[in-house]
Point group: C2
Chain length 360, copies 2
């Protein structure tokens, strides 16, 4: 078996150790004579594991007791609807900072339920930077401030936490959760689709501060009602049991590799290798302002875009896969989530060097 | 490795061949050097497989071209909200037949968005029968008629298809999909959580007739908007890629085992073995009217309910697991979905015989 280096933006590469363990126990999990997929979510064995995974997430991220951890379905895109339905009143305004495609989608979805108020946007600059920290003013009457710490498609990342002036701060951490230490208490809701740094797709984690519960509108679907799901330990309905289980294996791997401190060091080193090479190459460019460069999603362009397809296809043949940029922006993009090793980034840089030499 | 016979109501037993294949290719799927979980849902390999799974479902179930097959998240419980948001106007009535816990939940959820009109209910009789086919009248102004062909918790199944008098007929097939041949054209929407006969939890399949598209309310969450998801081949957002893939393996297994004809024969034989034994045992009873007995979920009671825990625990030790009745009704229940072999039902009957002899 030859495993490739997978630079997919999500679903994304998973740690080999995680996949190996899942494979080992796929037919007989925890000595139960069943696959974990075949377990009732109400059975003792699964309920205990699910609780252990939550405890593990709390330990790894340092989630305080006054935050609930929910394991839901519908992805981050589903949360774009669930958030206003849980946290805002009809007709109330919601503040947004728009730094790219995912903020834009969140704003469009919120408009179905509330009045989005875009207090800062980097759209005019082509979403290649974050706004200055002192360039926006929140509306004190808004239900909350929603922003996207990392925009996956254009590789733009906040280098600061916006001051929400007392409004609840909601952060879409889909692409950066578990990638380095954060202070959970800096946020009121953290949510993340699992399919980048947490596990397979079909699971979304929502970490929500207790004092935001109890505000869901009547028309909030029950399966997305944070209060109901918190009371039911995320089992009001059948959860994605396999995804939840696999998140547990990923968290074990994170702990075995230095926790979030270890992830952060490793991810910074990986990003430095790639950005340093790009900046010094005289061939490749990254369009993002230096202060706003993502550690996780790194777009790169070459002088002649007509060679992009050739690059992506030759790289794939060399075992470096999923390097095409998002279909909406073109170019190339390397997503280097937790599971992509430094060796993978080094191999990519070597390949980019050769390609630049041949075509530069 | 000792595999048990798993009578869980869902997530439920999966065919051993399916799990073995998933295990074999878990680290390197289709020669790509990646797990199927690590593939981008926008990549060629995964997109082709997803389309092949849909084609397979269409083939196995005989889904005509004027029906869309959607692969969504949020479970059947999520659909209880998605259905009124897609198919009814605010303030419009929706007809329901209430035959148990899942119908009851669907009615409660619909009330958030529309006006449920329960045209028949078997609640007074303790949900142990279906209503007579000529005992109810639909409201011609209702958006649709919703019913539950099989109620998982109490093991009650319709032996006929309700005449909806021209209203769209919506059927919650969670527990009976793929269990025998049906005519898809008898229904306007068929939906089913995957975790019983289709695969792992976290995936819900919706088969919807074309002429019902285009009616979603503005406030329908995008990820649940049938029209948007149909246009995007269920990839408006990242789907549950592993669940979708595993459904494909299950469908291959169904085809290898005689298709839905084969499933139907096998399931009828299994149900007959268990009901025949229960009825002749002089010890065990099944509370459901004979015409309404489920092939999939078979509750059974003993004279002294205080022995229930002992039965469930001793059975588990004998490799017959998850036989406790639903926490809301007690007693015992054997869910004998497609993947439970006849030998499993025979082993259960032998165990029940011994238990009855000792305790009767």
């Amino acid at each position: 078996m030859v495993r490739v280096y997978n630079f997919s933006a999500g679903p994304a590469m998973l740690p080999l150790e995680v996949l190996e363990r899942a494979k080992d126990e796929l037919l007989d999990w925890a000595g139960t004579g069943m696959s974990v997929m075949e377990h009732s979510h109400r059975g003792k064995a699964y309920v205990e594991r699910a609780a252990a995974v939550e405890a593990s997430l709390r330990e790894v991220m340092g989630v305080p007791d006054n935050y609930k951890c929910l394991f839901l379905q519908g992805g981050a895109y589903g949360e774009f609807a669930a958030l206003p339905l849980n946290l805002s009143a009809a007709g109330q305004s919601i503040d947004f900072i728009n730094t790219g495609d995912w903020s834009t989608k969140a704003i469009a979805e919120a408009k179905k339920y509330a009045v989005p108020n875009v207090i800062a946007s980097t759209k005019e600059g082509g979403f290649t930077d974050v706004p200055d920290a002192d360039s926006f003013t929140v509306n004190p009457d808004s239900a909350y401030l929603h922003y996207t710490p990392n925009e996956t498609i254009r590789g733009v990342e906040f280098d600061y936490i916006p001051d929400s002036k007392g409004l609840p701060l909601i952060a879409d951490f889909s692409s950066t959760i578990l990638s380095r230490p954060i202070n959970v208490t800096d946020f009121d809701v953290i949510f993340a689709g699992a399919q980048k740094n947490m596990g397979p797709s079909g699971l979304v984690t929502v970490i929500v501060k207790d004092d935001l519960l109890g505000k869901a509108r009547v028309e909030c679907p029950s399966v997305w009602d944070y209060t109901q799901q918190a009371a039911a330990d995320s089992m009001l309905n059948t959860p994605n049991t396999f995804g939840w289980y696999l998140l547990g294996l990923v968290l074990d791997w994170v702990k075995d590799n230095g926790g979030l401190e270890g992830m952060g060091q490793r991810n910074k080193a990986k990003a430095d290798v790639l950005y340093d090479y790009i900046d010094g190459s005289g061939y490749w460019t990254n369009p993002v302002a230096k202060r706003a460069r993502s550690w996780m999603n790194i777009p790169f362009l070459q002088p002649n875009a007509e060679l992009d397809k050739q690059f992506v296809s030759e790289a794939a043949k060399a075992g470096l896969t999923n390097l095409a940029g998002h279909r909406s922006v073109g170019g190339m993009r390397a997503s280097i989530y937790n599971a992509v090793p430094l060796e993978g980034v080094q191999a990519l840089v070597e390949f980019m060097k050769e390609f630049a030499q041949k075509n530069g």
